[in-house]
Amino acid sequence: MNIHEYQAKRILRQYGIVIPKGMIAYTPTEAKKAATKVSFRGPWVLKAQIQSGARNKGYFLEKKAGRKGGIRLIKSRREIAVEAEKMLGATLVTVQTGPKGKQVGRVYVEAYNKVKKNFYASLVIDRTLPAITLLVADTNNEDITTLAISAPEKILRLPLDLITGASSEQIQKVIDFLHLSPKVFKNMETFVNGMHQAFVDYDAVMIEVNPVGVTAAGQIIALDAKMSFDNNALYRHKDISMLQDEYEEEDRELKAAKYGFQYSEFDGNIGCIVNGDGIALAAMDLIRTKGNNGTACFLNVKGGVDKDKIAAGIKIIMTNPRVEGILINILGGFLRCNLIADGIVAAASEVGLNVPLVVRFEGTNKDEAKDILEHSKLPIIIAEDMEDSVDKLIEAMEESD
């Protein structure tokens, strides 16, 4: 789960990290008021709050929003409301949002901070170690992902101790790597270990501050902030769960999550129901090798589900307008195939079946499952293995064209 920049900054501030003075605004009038409160003379930075990076390099779909990106430097107070008006309600497209973009529902009004230097910092989990790992780079306006490919040596990677965070030696390494003055040591320590403690306390999976600013006085300021949390640990962070911006999640994704399923959308035409990540990947791979077909979405029902949940899951797939055919591949271990069959029948009888549906069962209770489908008299095609299921579905889709 992700949160907005201003929410991430509020969390980081609790850990002693310096952030620019800022306020959130939902209307142009609020933005104007906020500007007065955060800085008397300005300048200000007006930031579209959507959960995406590279907002500065993004563009708006609507003309009224103007040609500038989602982060705007504003010099006069008059302009605040004008620019806020342009951005609010408009759709911001970035390299991370995809071409559909995301609608801006709120803007963050911040005091502009003059800095001497910018750098990139993030905490992620390096699963090979495994350890929470600090990544630092002197980006010089270069894109961090480009740098990761073209010059990985320009990124410093330091695995941190889970309990104690960064050691003094590690902080010194960061300072030397960035060619900063030794006088920033204390501030750097507060910054890095503040991020680390927030990461551990909140079960984060990623904290990214890009850029971090260093002022002439040696202050270290988080000019941006992104935090992602471990969905499996949200049960112990009610305060974070409450920040979930339902608007940011695809509607179907959210519905699926309510049943404990995982749902992802792509731009193809086949809806897949599977019971594991691996089989989802393998099914997508196979679909791509067959003609002009691709995966529209997959629903991973995981294990331990009941008939009603499965029916609900199938309905989620059926309501995706891209779906021209449904492929169900279930390898029952924990999950019993007969439950899936019951769910398919329940969903199909309720919402009707207007696209071809191919089912392939293997494993626990597969024969019972096949019986259920055969007795249902529904036009369901049963396949023998994964490749056979893809072939049969594509054949049926071509016939129904």
Binding site: G53, S122, L123, V124, I125, D126, R127, T128, P130, A131, I132, T133, L135, I144, T145, A148, I149, P152, R157, L162, V200, D203, V205, M206, E208, N210, D230, N232, A233, Y235, R236, S264, F266, N275, G276, D277, G278, I279, L281, A282, M284, D285, L286, I287, R288, T289, K302, G303, N329, L331, G332, G333, F334, E362, G363, T364, K366, D385, M386, E387
Partner: protein, 293 residues
């Protein structure tokens, strides 16, 4: 023979009294698995599925000599269950639950560093030595005793790989699901090391997937092996757009774009036989063992 578990393994079930546990443990017992005890805190003293139930793993081990466990505990209790398994000095514990928080896994990995206990999982169907022992939730009907080792990160693709060995007229020595999560217990390298020295395994099917660097590591290990048994490899995830649901930092940590194809190439370069479709595994197996086809 086999790796990690066989009919001599004395199996303890952590969280034995739950509904799902009862369903699968009964099947494991019917399969011939030597289940000797169960643990459910507060229910010590009762008998469930014909085996004695204890309050703690240490007590169960003392009374029954159990040396491996399967955990049917919910994700939020996995950390405590692994700690118990380690304190009871079990050789192996298998964690079925999915949804274990990453921080808990970081702590578990720390806990198990240098410990006697090996962890399989979490989010795994477990480990099965066909005809001898089933520790987990595998559909037993697809497995047959034989001489092919199978290891996969994904549960469902483990089953696919097993079905492929059957199509080639072959059975399995031991089948292991390493687990679908970001952080897991034993990995491909540890598993392959065991298969390479197991006198009853002739070849291995290894199924990787997008994410992490487990496949690159096992390729490096295999490349440097002096004596190699054949390994047939497949990596799932080529059709997934890169960076799907991942932030920038996710890309940075894997040093740029690592695709399923990159992983498969690394495996191929190491001398493994790689296939582009999972359903082609049986074809390669038939080439290796034509007499069985």
């Amino acid at each position: 023979m086999s790796i990690l578990v066989n009919k001599a393994s004395k199996v303890l079930i952590q969280g034995i009294t739950g509904t799902q546990a009862s369903f699968h443990v009964k099947r494991s017992i019917d399969y011939g698995t030597n289940v000797v005890a169960g643990v459910t805190p507060g229910k010590g003293g009762i008998t469930h599925l014909g085996v004695p139930v204890f309050d703690s793993a240490i007590e169960a081990v003392k009374e029954t000599g159990a040396n491996a466990s399967v955990m049917f505990v919910p994700a939020k209790f996995v950390k405590d269950a692994v700690r118990e398994a380690a304190e009871a000095e079990l050789d192996l514990c298998v964690c079925i639950a999915d949804g274990v928080p990453i921080k808990d896994m970081l702590e578990i990995k720390e806990m198990l560093r240098g410990a006697k206990t090996k962890l399989i999982g979490p989010n795994t169907p477990g480990i099965i030595t066909p005809g001898e022992a089933r520790l987990g939730i595998f559909p037993e009907n697809i497995h047959h005793p034989g001489r092919i080792g199978v290891v996969s990160r994904s549960s469902t693709l483990t089953y696919e790989a097993v079905i492929e060995t059957t199509r080639a007229g072959l059975g399995q020595s031991t089948v292991i699901g390493l687990g679908d999560d970001m952080l897991i217990g034993i990995d491909f390298v540890e598993t392959l090391e065991k298969f390479m020295t197991d006198p009853d395994t002739d070849a291995v099917v290894l199924i990787g997937q997008l994410g992490g660097t487990y496949e690159e590591e096992v390729a490096k290990y295999y490349k440097n092996l002096k004596v190699k048994k054949p390994v047939i490899g497949f990596v799932a995830g080529n059709a997934v757009p890169f960076g799907h649901k991942m932030g920038y930092a996710g890309e940075v940590i894997t040093k740029g774009h690592v695709t399923a194809q990159d992983k498969q190439d690394a495996m191929h370069d190491s001398g493994m036989i790689t296939v582009n479709k999972i359903n082609n595994i049986h074809i390669e197996l038939m080439k290796l063992f034509p007499q069985n086809a």
